[in-house]
Amino acid sequence: MSSQSPRKGSLVGSRIRELRKGRRLTQTELSDRIGIAQSDLSRMEQGEYKVGLDTLFKVLQVFELKMGEFFGETEDPQAAETRELVKEYQGLSSKAQREVRDFLRFKKLQEQSQPEPDSPAAPHEEETS
């Protein structure tokens, strides 16, 4: 596992500072919400403060982040688009949702009967080229 992808452990403090500023929170406001002293949050942001698992997960809870987001991992754009689509679908009336499902069925049938011109080449075509 670790040999395939290096695991990250540093820069937690600077990431907290980044996220706090992004949400326009002062150190006092954030430290109140996490339940630690402002001076300790300041040290945490400077990378001088080691924390327990509970505190680390409390920070994530305040920012409503998952671990990957906390460490600045960007979400796959396609996954983000899919998530948005699902959200929009869920916001529709049940009649509109039925129409969307019908349209999806129609598009699926259409694609099955008409293969796209840029679909991957079949193996025998590779051999002859």
Binding site: M1, S5, K50
Partner: protein, 300 residues
């Protein structure tokens, strides 16, 4: 010493042994008995002493069903006596257990000042150990290390080098060195502490040293050793109901398995850890990619 005092002293000694062995229920029963006797004999000193000892036992059991204000009353009534210093020390422990660290520091400092004035070496050493633990909780490793060092020296100067209190302070000092990447200083201290605690039958105090050895082993990539210490720490944490030890042991074991490429075993540990954090269902997947070893504090 009167026969009554001798009898109560025997109860205290037996109860203390029971606490160190992790048999808290037995210790509580003995202290309850002693408290009832002291009250029936109208011996205020012994009643205060047993009140403090009983509260200490309840704190060890993660229980708060005792009167904290009574401890403070004992402290005020005995400004220059042993019971006053002890009450201050127990009040500090009670505040620490409640997460009231500012108050805990105040009472620990009070206990330290009083025990120094009275020349109570053991209570001075344990108060120093408590103050250091409060520093450690807030991640001030250098300050904590210096206080633990002083605690160990105090306890050892009294010929207490083989005592359980000295062993606990020695382990804490070792952990500080390990966290500060001074393995060559920290490891011998933690091994020595564990050996003393083991020889004295203080099972309930052996969880932190084993956890610290697991931590050091993961840090230095001695992964087989990490597995062995981690399993031991996990067992002790479960046996004595120490949730922080259990969570940290799961995390460290998962780290070790993950580094060894034993993914399914790492998964099991991450899953066990995730149970404590139901708001983070994706915890396992992310911890597979992220190491918290450089930011984690096992005493926070």
């Amino acid at each position: 010493m009167s026969e009554r005092r001798k009898h109560l002293e025997f109860l205290r000694k037996t109860a203390k042994e029971a606490i160190w062995a992790g048999d808290y229920e037995r210790a509580l029963t003995l202290y309850d008995d002693g408290l009832s006797l002291a009250r029936s004999w109208k011996d205020r000193d012994l009643e205060d002493l047993f009140t403090c000892n009983r509260a200490t036992t309840l704190i060890e059991m993660d229980r708060q069903d005792f009167d904290l204000s009574r401890l403070k009353e004992i402290l005020l009534r005995n400004p220059s006596g042993y019971n006053g210093a002890l009450a201050g020390y127990v009040a500090a422990n009670a505040h620490e257990a409640r997460g009231e660290f500012g108050r805990a520091r105040f009472y620990a400092q009070t206990a330290l000042t009083k025990s120094r004035e009275l020349g109570l070496e053991e209570l001075t050493g344990t108060s120093l150990n408590l103050l250091a633990s409060l520093e450690l909780h807030e991640g001030r490793f250098e300050a904590a290390r210096d206080l633990f060092q002083e605690a160990v020296e105090r306890l050892e100067s009294e010929g207490e080098s083989l005592s359980r209190h000295a062993a606990v302070a020695t382990d804490n000092l070792g952990y500080c060195h390990i966290a500060l990447d001074r393995m060559e200083l920290g490891l011998p201290l933690v091994h020595r502490s564990l050996s003393v605690l083991d020889s004295l039958g203080a099972r309930q105090a052996m969880d932190y040293p084993t956890l610290d050895l697991c931590f050091a082993s993961v840090k230095t990539s001695r992964l087989d050793e990490a597995e062995s210490w981690g399993i031991r720490a996990l067992g002790l944490g479960k046996e004595f109901g120490r949730e922080d030890v259990v969570k940290n042991a799961h995390y460290l074991l998962a780290e070790a398995y993950s580094e060894m490429g034993r993914d399914s075993e790492a998964d099991e540990q991450y899953e066990a850890l995730a149970v404590y954090y139901p708001d983070f269902p994706a915890l396992k997947n992310y911890l597979h990619q992220i190491s918290l070893m450089e930011v984690i504090n096992l005493r926070a």
